[in-house]
Symmetry: C2
Subunit: 296 residues, 2 copies
């Protein structure tokens, strides 16, 4: 089979930065390093960090019992309250919040100070959105799309979860501008997400099978898989190479491979190797078949 | 013929206010009252004011030669420079700028002070837009639609000519949000324009002939006429009843009548009377025709 791999598969800027911070801290401190929640939405990376002594805890209270040497705040960021509690409890905080998420938090605070009614476009259950929300204050509302835009005549300030689709933002603004006389929008969508989606869409139109690699708990990876499914191509969302089945490729000439922002290179490499192996076996089984050695 | 008249035909809030100001001033001062440019885009109103001693001049320089008792600034407003010159020259300025236009000027100044790259959606030749533009400062750009949105990475502030269509604003925002990370929008579109357009559209779908009454130099009246034409109904844009021809109604069962924001009641009344007369003659000529007395 011919394998095409997305240029933008895997770690984005913010995730790479956070993982570097985590491994650096692990090396320096040897032990007693904690993250508040898994550092990124990828179980395999979290496991590897565990072998280096970096543990994940679920709450500030859990931390207090452990007397940590360092507490890493993960890419999605945390609420203002949690950040304050960490300082108050005297922990050595290492902030690995994605700088783009940090910006969104900053703008939320700014809009609150300027008295805007704040609307956050995003998934209200996502930790990133919960963090931003805490800086936006009480009156803020999270909407999943334009249909949820609230009745308001107030001045409206809009912030967007960094991984949202820009088309959804455009739809939201079209509704917003009909409600309010003043609208301030911070387009906090991360370009990397948009470009990855675009590349994946183009790839899905050429491939017979799409492999999406990344955490099943990763929103942006799941979004890639859903996009491919919606385009009608056979799509498999896997976390590791071990999940791959030969049968998926029995009728495939071209396989497209992409990965979410929280998927490490080593997993992508393993998946590539596994597909080459399958391609090789198939070429061997059908020496006069359509698959040349060079393409597998 | 059955005549239906738009509820919102004629003077909007801002025009009514300006005309009241003009007639009041004329009565008080007896003579020496000037407007800078025609007070509204309706030649018949301007003529009637002339008979009361209110004259229109084209420039601040012309005013200086006349030693006026009062200078009325018209609904569209003027540039900041002109406003300053009028004060500096010691004229008694009576500001009849539409309060909604005044707001747009105020927001332009605000956005300039806040350092935004200002985009004005509107017609750059329209006096209202020229006035707003002057408060927006040097870097500001007027665009007639989304296709003219400039290449920029700056923080963008948007203001809208009060008589623009909200759909055009939505298109502009969809483009803008793809260019910039920060967008501040003052939706300065006047509701009265939107509602008048909507009512006219509904009327045009029921009528066989549409009569649009108002100044040929009135942008909002012309917009009404263009809307009706685009819907495929026979449309006549007239300034006065004297332009009406019997033949326009020879095949019409229903005539729709609407008027721009600068069209006075007395002209609308004359037009109504003229259509009733035509309807009456037709009923007389065809006693057993389809047109009952009651409907004409």
């Amino acid at each position: 089979v011919k394998l095409i791999t997305a240029k933008r598969a895997g770690f984005c800027f913010g995730v790479k930065r956070a993982i570097d911070i985590a491994f650096d801290t692990a090396e320096k401190k040897k032990a007693g390093v904690y993250t508040l929640g898994p550092i990124i939405h990828n179980p395999q990376v979290v496991e590897r960090l565990q072998t280096m002594g970096v543990r994940s805890v679920n709450s500030v209270r859990d931390l207090a019992r452990k007397d940590p040497k360092a507490v890493i705040v993960r890419t999605h960021g945390v609420t203002e309250n949690i950040m304050n509690s960490l300082s108050k409890n005297g922990h050595a905080v290492i902030d690995a919040t994605c700088p783009f998420v940090k910006k969104a938090q900053h703008y939320a605070k700014l809009l609150k100070e300027e008295g805007y009614k704040i609307i956050i476009l995003g998934d209200k259950e996502h930790p990133e959105v919960k963090g931003i929300m805490s800086y936006a204050g009480r009156g803020a509302v999270v909407v999943k799309d334009a249909s949820e835009f609230p009745e308001t005549k107030a001045r409206v300030g809009v912030i967007v979860q960094t991984t949202q689709n820009v088309e959804k933002l455009k739809e939201l603004l079209a509704v917003a501008v009909g409600h309010t006389k003043e609208l301030k929008v911070y387009n906090t969508i991360c370009n990397s997400t948009a470009l990855r989606l675009k590349e994946t869409e183009e790839m899905a139109q050429r491939a017979d099978v799409m492999l999406i690699v990344g955490g099943k708990n990763s929103a942006n990876t799941t979004q890639l898989a859903r996009l491919c499914q919606s385009l009608g191509v056979a799509t498999y969302h896997i976390e590791t190479a071990s999940e791959i089945k030969d049968a998926w490729f029995s009728r495939a000439a071209t396989v497209g491979l992409t990965a979410g922002a929280s998927t490490p290179d080593w997993i992508i490499k393993e998946v590539k190797k596994r597909i080459k192996d399958i391609g090789g076996r198939r070429t061997y089984g059908h020496p006069k078949g359509r698959y040349s050695k060079g393409r597998a």
